[in-house]
Every structure is written in structure tokens, then in C-alpha cells.
């Protein structure tokens, strides 16, 4: 089997369009995960024991079951309870929550890395708990969390093909469709691999740059 350049050129626009969808899915899923993950992390630090307990159980549950099952669950089981979601919405909820569970652990590590003396200094100048988190603790928890957050950004991007199982038109689904129509799989799958490789490597490099920039901006080399 020979590489067919004409075929490659022909399917390229379709593949690039699907790449856009993949990036969109990863970006939206990650945005959800970043916010919900922080809520998961903070909920585990409140004095409300019951909230801490429930959140920890949710996080454990999500981390101990496969993502693909969670995607199916939200998409196919939801309607049995009258919750009808489009593939996109269901997919974003599933993948967002999944990664929120992982990110909450990253945040927790970052928050715990802030020395106790910082909290005491905040009490001494009488900041509220909210002000302490917002102005003092979270900014210091960010730099040590960036590497872990970046790893999960790349992970979520690489996990978007799982959304093809419920019909989200991302890169993997496009490759399958193109391959099936033309009975040629070499080019579409190779292109998927190359696109993922290029974007993952670029993202990893961007994350390292971002971490260095944040540390410098905060004056904490």
C-alpha cells in the first residue's frame, strides 16, 4: 500500500475541521474541569465534615471508574430519567467532571504546599478566609500546580477520541468516517496521529513556558 498524496490533500480540510472540534471539546471540557475541580478541592477543606466526606466520595468514585463508562452513562442513562442531552453536552459534562476529579487532587497538593505561616500571617492582619484563599493562598498554590494541570490538559486532549463513541464529530470520528467511505485507513489514521503529536508537544512546551512566566511574575523563582 502506497501513501496517496492526492487523497491526503482531498481529506485534509475535513480533518482540519475535525481538529477544530477536538480542540474545542478539549478546551471546553478543561474549562469545566478547572472550575469544578477547584470547587471539589475547596469543598474538601471546609469545616463542614459532611461536605468534605461527600466530595471525597464523589472524587474517589469518578477516579475509580473508566471515562468511557461515564460518557455512556451520562448520554444513554440520562434519557431514562428524562434528561436528554446532545452528544456535545453529555460529552462535555462527562469529560469535564472526570478531569475535575483529577484536577482537584492537583489543587489540593498545591494548596497544602503553602506553608502554615502564610495562613497565620493572614490571621494576624485579619483577612477573612475568602480573602486569604483569593489573595494569598491560591496565587501561591498555582505555580506548583501548573505542571500537574498541564499534564491533564494534554490528557484530556488525548481522551477526546472517546467522545466519538457517542457521535461527537471530533478528529477520530472524522478519520473513521473518511476511512470507511474510501476504504483507505492509512492516511486518515496517520494524520490523526501526527496532528495529536504536534499539538501535544506544542502544548507541553507552552505549559513549561507558562509555569516559568507565572513564577517570575509572582516573584517566586
Amino acid at each position: 500500500m502506497q501513501w496517496d498524496f492526492a487523497f491526503t490533500a482531498e481529506i485534509l480540510p475535513k480533518m482540519l475541521w475535525a481538529t477544530g472540534n477536538t480542540l474545542l471539546a478539549a478546551g471546553m471540557g478543561y474549562a469545566i474541569a478547572v472550575v469544578i475541580g477547584l470547587l471539589f478541592a475547596l469543598a474538601q477543606r471546609t469545616p463542614l465534615r459532611i461536605l468534605t466526606y461527600i466530595t471525597r466520595e464523589i472524587v474517589e468514585f469518578i477516579r475509580s471508574t473508566p471515562l468511557v463508562l461515564q460518557i455512556f452513562f451520562v448520554y444513554y442513562v440520562g434519557p431514562e430519567y428524562g434528561i436528554f442531552l446532545s452528544p456535545w453536552v453529555a460529552g462535555m459534562i462527562a469529560i469535564g467532571l472526570h478531569y475535575a476529579a483529577y484536577l482537584s487532587e492537583v489543587y489540593r497538593g498545591g494548596i497544602e504546599s503553602v506553608p502554615k505561616g502564610q495562613w497565620e500571617a493572614c490571621t494576624a492582619i485579619n483577612l477573612t478566609t475568602m480573602q486569604t484563599y483569593r489573595r494569598i493562598v491560591l496565587p501561591q498554590a498555582l505555580p506548583p500546580s501548573i505542571a500537574g494541570m498541564g499534564n491533564y490538559l494534554v490528557s484530556i486532549f488525548k481522551d477526546t477520541p472517546m467522545l466519538s463513541v457517542i457521535g461527537v464529530a471530533e478528529l477520530m470520528q472524522a478519520a473513521n468516517a473518511v476511512g470507511g467511505q474510501n476504504y483507505r485507513y492509512l492516511e486518515p489514521y496517520t494524520m490523526v496521529g501526527v496532528i495529536f503529536l504536534v499539538i501535544s508537544l506544542t502544548a507541553a512546551r507552552a505549559i513549561r513556558w507558562f509555569e516559568a512566566t507565572v513564577r517570575r511574575k509572582l516573584g517566586m523563582q
Partner: protein, 272 residues
């Protein structure tokens, strides 16, 4: 077990109200008693130094006053009002978060390890509290912060982050940060213990200035006997969670009455 607090006054009245009063204060961690029935008054504008061997409970005294530690018995009063408790239906009950926040606003503290905010410049460190807590405008807060940084000799370094400053410089910024909140009582917890010997002087000079020019009420835990002797109105020697002996510095250092004080002072002298 709930302590009976009915014998404690709701507030202190009379002509000579102390700025700080520890009244039968008890602190323990499990079975370990750190402070045992502590009674201690600090008068307005008084400078009291606390000395003693490690584990004698001296740092705990300051931490309780800053509300970093809860107490297990007794009541602490600041400026005549209860700090650790609040009046409710005519009796004192344990203070809630809201009351504590209001009550502790008259107290400032400097720590052994400075605890400056590393992601903020010296100036920002001193503006954070006044803006967020006291509600000053950024301009007012900046003026106040610059005035204080000038006073502690750190105005040249106001735009530096703590990582760029020496220990002595960081501690001076920390003093300015605490003063920016306009406390009535300042607490110094071994503020020179983490410093290199050659920079201790720059910090003690700032504190001396405060004592002689500003007449704040101050409590200081220190290992520097010479410094305590120079600037204190009174020195308390702590031993085993109790005040073993307290007196004017001249009297306590040259003529200690208790055997434990004598032993401690001669051990310190031998180490110097």
C-alpha cells in the same frame, strides 16, 4: 466539660484597665499542659519581655493573644473587652468567628520566620491588609505603607519581592506590615532568632524606636537577654507553663530571686 465562666466580668472597668489581661488562662494539648492558670496584666504602653527555656509556653502566650490558638480555660481581655469570649445573655461564651475577627483587630504580630507574602512586593505586603480589611483607598494605603517602610529603613526596597531581601530586611518589612494595621498591641515572637548575627541589630533598632517613640503596648518573646534588658519595662521568666518570676529588667537580671531563674540566666550567660 463546660467551664463555669460566671465569675469572669463581661468587661473590665475602673481607672487602671490593663491593655491585656490573661485571667486564669489554661492551655493544653491532650495531657500536656502548656500553660497553667496564667495571670498576666500588661499596662497600656508597657513593654513586656518573655524569656524562659524552650517548652516553657512563652510563644504560646503570644499565639493565644493573636487567636492562632484557642484556650482551654480562663479568659483573655484586650483593652477591657474579652478577646477569647463574648458576652451573651449576661454571661461569657466562647467567641464565634465574627466576634474574634473584630476583637483581634487591635493586635498585630511579627513572626520568627517573617511570613511575608512571597508573591507580593514589600509595598504590596504592607498595603494588603489596610486595603482589604480596613477599607483604605489604594492611595491612602500606599501613603501609609511608604511612611512605615521609610520608618523601618526599607523604602529603597519597596518594590522588591521578599526572595530578594535578606532576613533582616524581610523582618523589617514584616514589622511595617503589622504596624500598617494600626494595632494597639504588638507581639514579637522571637523575631531575631532566624537572623544572621550581623543583621540582628537592624531589627532590634527598629523595635527600640517603636518602644521609645511610639509607646505601643508590646509583648516580646526573645532569647536576647541584652536586648530584653535594654528596652523592657518588665521581664517575665516562664518555666513549666507558669510565670516563675517577673520584675524590672534591672532587678531580674542582676538579682534574680528564684533558683530556676538563676540557673537559666547563668546557663544563657555561659552559652554567650
Amino acid at each position: 466539660m463546660m467551664e463555669d465562666l460566671s465569675s469572669y466580668p463581661l468587661e473590665l472597668v475602673g481607672p487602671d484597665i490593663p491593655m491585656v489581661r490573661f485571667m486564669k488562662v489554661r492551655k493544653s494539648y491532650g495531657d500536656l499542659i502548656v500553660l497553667d492558670n496564667l495571670n498576666l496584666d500588661v499596662a497600656p504602653s508597657e513593654m513586656v519581655s518573655i524569656i524562659g527555656p524552650s517548652g516553657s509556653g512563652k510563644t504560646t502566650v503570644l499565639r493565644m493573644l493573636m487567636t492562632l490558638e484557642t484556650i482551654n480555660g480562663g479568659v483573655i481581655y484586650v483593652d477591657g473587652k474579652p478577646l477569647t469570649h463574648m458576652p451573651k445573655n449576661g454571661v461569657l461564651v466562647r467567641a464565634d468567628a465574627k466576634y474574634l475577627r473584630k476583637a483581634r483587630s487591635s493586635i498585630g504580630m511579627c513572626f520568627q520566620h517573617f511570613n511575608l507574602f512571597p508573591h507580593m512586593t514589600a509595598l504590596q505586603n504592607c498595603m494588603e491588609g489596610p486595603v482589604l480589611v480596613l477599607g483604605l483607598s489604594r492611595r491612602e494605603a500606599r501613603e501609609r505603607a511608604e511612611e512605615l517602610l521609610l520608618m523601618v529603613g526599607m523604602i529603597d526596597k519597596k518594590d522588591q519581592h521578599p526572595s530578594r531581601l535578606s532576613g533582616g530586611q524581610q523582618q523589617r518589612v514584616a514589622i511595617a506590615r503589622a504596624l500598617a494595621m494600626r494595632p494597639k498591641v504588638m507581639l514579637f515572637d522571637e523575631v531575631t532568632s532566624a537572623l544572621d548575627p550581623e543583621v540582628i541589630g537592624e531589627v532590634t533598632n527598629v523595635i527600640k524606636d517603636l518602644v521609645f517613640k511610639h509607646r505601643l503596648t508590646m509583648l516580646m518573646v526573645t532569647h536576647q537577654m541584652g536586648f530584653a534588658r535594654d528596652i523592657s519595662d518588665r521581664v517575665c521568666f516562664f518555666y513549666g507553663g507558669k510565670i516563675e518570676e517577673q520584675d524590672s529588667p534591672a532587678e531580674l537580671f542582676s538579682n534574680p530571686k528564684s533558683k530556676r531563674t538563676q540557673q537559666f540566666l547563668s546557663a544563657v550567660k555561659a552559652a554567650d
